[in-house]
């Protein structure tokens, strides 16, 4: 047995120990920061950076990759990070040694990295999977240069959610025009309901309301180009959006600045609120089966007949390829597989809160709510992604989120607010 009994530690050995510890202490974080740099270019492995840190999506993705391995023999090595952390670190992640494939969103947020040459175009993949997707999805998957950079997997719509039983009991009908919506709000208020549930503590829900009113009133093209910084926020068209919003504001739930969307949704669950404009993830708050079956939605009413209801806000999640994938052939195979309706269906089996991005997916297993969402998205002429995905994230998070909150608290100050937004927009969009 080796002798472990220590001699009385000499001054020198203590010094050496401390020095060594300092070197280790300094070295370890540096090494671990390098991330997945050590991975080899094994032709049987594709690495994938995932933001699916929640239990349900994580499990759903795992089932998809397991199936891919069965058919192709290629292992998908998943590197999962916390959803928000992934998003916040995406810049440095993509510049460092990213995984071959990574989870990302369609729209401006995808185009940005494509333009920065941090993503690889995948026209070869789309040559095979192109037929699986409607035109609106194709539009969403292209960079500004017209090349494909993105493979969509799932999507979900924003709409006005309500409970069928409440509408039947009070004899309400689904409003299809702006005037009908306002009339319905008035009616609900006199019936003692909160007409529109609302919570803007997290600052992003208000962006959803703006989007809906803007593309209904000014159309998809104006909305898109406003988001891209090409239109002035001082334009009377934008002012008109806020005027419409101000008309609806008295019917919104009080105290919204301190309320999360989850709490606002509880008002609909408990039948205290009549309607709620949100993404279909609102269904997560309906934990009782009977309540969930009672949940329904309708698209935001027509404001301008020139555009009708041709646009649907349908944030789409999917995959992109990093700038220099180590296993290019494997990546192409994986994305071709992920672009099939079969892969989407497999995913939805575990995570039914979203719908397939492909128009060819089998909808027989869908709930009525999913079916309706799927049809609405499939029939849309244009799809938007939500303000923070359609525009520069720095603009939406540092200017629009506080700006919209300001409007909500002081709807009368909209003129000075808009000129302030416009000034800030100019400098942000002028940079880079």
């Amino acid at each position: 047995m080796p002798d472990f009994s220590l001699p009385a530690a000499s001054r020198r050995s203590v010094l050496r120990g401390i020095g060594g510890a300092a070197v280790l202490g300094a070295g370890i974080p540096l090494l671990s920061a390098c991330g997945s740099s050590g991975s080899s270019s094994d032709p049987k492995t594709v690495t994938l950076g995932s933001n699916a840190s929640d239990a349900v999506p994580k499990k759903a993705f795992a089932s998809v990759y397991a199936d891919f391995k069965k058919t192709s023999g290629i292992t998908v090595k998943v590197n999962t990070k916390d959803h928000n952390t992934f998003q916040e670190q995406i810049n440095s992640y993509l510049q460092g040694t990213p995984d071959d494939v990574f989870n990302w969103f369609a729209g401006y947020r995808m185009q940005f990295f494509a333009a920065k040459k941090l993503a690889t175009s995948i026209d070869d993949v789309w040559a095979k999977i192109g037929d699986n997707f409607p035109d609106a999805m194709k539009k969403l998957s292209k960079g500004e240069d017209g090349k494909y950079y993105f493979v969509p997997l799932t999507t979900y719509p924003w709409a006005i959610f309500y409970r069928k039983s409440v509408f039947t009991a009070k004899g309400y009908t689904v409003p299809t025009t702006w005037d009908e919506l306002v009339a319905l709000c008035k009616k609900m208020k006199s019936d003692g309901l909160v007409p529109i549930a609302f919570g803007d503590k997290d600052a992003w829900p208000a962006m959803g309301t703006f989007d809906q009113i803007n593309f209904r009133l000014n159309g998809y093209d104006f909305h898109k180009s406003l988001m891209a910084g090409k239109e002035a926020w001082t334009d009377p068209k934008v002012k008109a959006v806020f005027d419409h919003w101000a008309e609806l504001l008295p019917y919104h739930q009080d105290g919204f600045m301190g309320r999360t969307w989850q709490d606002a949704a509880q008002g609909v669950v408990s039948k205290k609120s009549g309607m709620y404009l949100l993404g279909s993830f609102v269904a997560q708050q309906f934990t009782v089966k009977a309540d969930l079956d009672d949940l329904d939605f309708f698209p935001f009413p027509v404001i301008n007949t020139a555009y009708g209801q041709d646009t649907v806000e349908a944030p789409t999640d999917g995959f992109m390829v990093s700038k220099a994938p180590k296993n290019h052939d494997g990546v192409v195979k994986l994305l071709e597989y992920l672009g099939t309706p079969a892969a989407e269906q497999l995913y939805l089996k575990t995570d039914p809160s979203v719908v397939a991005a492909s128009s060819k997916a089998d909808t027989s297993a869908y709930s009525p709510l999913q079916k309706k969402a799927f049809d609405m998205i499939g029939a849309a002429k244009s799809l938007t992604q939500f303000m923070d995905r359609d525009s520069r994230p720095d603009f939406t998070s540092t200017v629009m989120q506080p700006g919209l909150q300001k409007f909500l608290q002081n709807p009368k100050g909209v003129d000075s607010l808009l000129s302030s937004i416009e000034r800030q927009k100019k400098t942000i969009f002028a940079s880079s």
């Binding site: 941090l118 105290g255 940079s431 880079s432």
Partner: protein
């Protein structure tokens, strides 16, 4: 001959060389005996590594962010750094609707902390110093908020302030339509609401600092003032408080630092929405995240740095001057 006598040091004489060889090897004396070569390398290493780390992590980064404040950079590749001169600062001072409120809130934060929880902490410390019963229990109770992470504090207070299900609104019935008190969202209320939470924590912190100071007060001072017929308040005002001077300086500096770096509580509370903007939160919002505005965020950070220096440098100068005099 003469030269030989001078080179033989008295020490060398005291220890006669065992052989002929060592006497030849002459290194400048002094350092030689105390530290061997290996010791010196080790020490150089021990001093060097922290110095390198300090320079790299503190000075280089601070200077880099000062330089970046005059650029526009989205964080992608060094080639995209563009020199923009004072544009960031101009935009910050003229166009950013959140900057001036944020500055104001940082100042309010300091004023409130120094005026309310600090004297209250002192009050608690004086009471606890009297060795009342269960003193330890009280100490623990008051100090507990300091031990808790600020994020947890923020979360707890959020439950109290929640407009629908929160403690306060439920108790006073302010969670019905038309009666809402929006503690978290209302820009006239939320800063004060969050300051109550901050004060709750700060008084515990101040209590411990003052308690430590009070324990160091010489008991004979109290005796003497009692003999002189001073009542409790007079003793405190004229005898105890003046001896707490060193503690007061620490308290002042700690409070200034706390108010300049206030962040976590508000971040958890409402992410610095209208009414609770803070400089630290503006910096975070601009720098962290995708397609970040690193140059602009750095400009805000430089403003914060300048404010910190403006507060700390006079303090340091005063302290050093005092020490020199002493």
């Amino acid at each position: 001959m003469i030269s030989e006598t001078t080179t033989t040091s008295p020490e060398a004489d005291a220890v006669p060389p065992p052989g002929p060889a060592p006497a030849k090897k002459r290194v400048p004396k002094g350092a030689k005996r105390l530290l061997t070569r290996r010791d010196r390398i080790t020490l150089a290493f021990m001093a060097g590594v922290p110095t390198v780390l300090h320079v790299a992590l503190v000075w280089v980064t601070a200077l880099a962010s000062i330089l970046l404040a005059f650029t526009s950079w989205d964080g992608i590749g060094f080639s995209s750094i563009k020199w923009v001169g004072l544009a960031n600062f101009k935009e910050l001072f003229n166009d950013n609707p959140q900057f001036w409120p944020a500055l104001e809130h940082n100042v309010i934060w300091f004023v409130v902390l120094i005026l309310l929880p600090t004297p209250f902490g002192l009050f608690l410390a004086v009471q606890l110093d009297k060795n009342i019963r269960f003193s330890r229990v009280y100490q623990t109770a008051f100090f507990l908020p300091v031990v808790m992470s600020l994020a947890v504090t923020g979360f707890v207070w959020q439950l109290i302030y929640n407009p629908d299900t929160g403690l306060i609104n439920s108790l006073i019935g302010a969670n019905k339509p038309g009666h809402y008190i929006d503690w978290i969202g209302d820009p006239h209320l939320n800063l004060w609401a969050v300051l109550i939470a901050a004060s709750w924590r700060h008084s515990g912190y101040m209590m411990i600092l003052y308690l430590a100071g009070l324990k160091g007060v010489d008991p004979s001072l109290r005796e003497a003032s009692a003999l002189d017929g001073a009542n409790e308040w007079q003793t405190f005002k004229n005898v105890i408080f003046p001896t707490l001077r060193p503690t007061n300086t620490v308290v002042l500096v700690v409070t200034i630092i706390e108010s300049l770096r206030a962040f976590d509580l508000v971040w958890v509370f409402n992410k610095g929405a209208q009414g609770t903007e803070l400089l630290s939160i503006l910096i975070t919002n601009n720098i962290i995240g995708e397609s970040s505005r690193i140059g602009y965020g750095s400009a805000i950070a430089v403003v914060l740095l300048v404010i910190s220096l403006a507060v700390i440098i006079p303090y340091l100068i005063a302290t050093f001057r005092k020490e020199r005099r002493a």
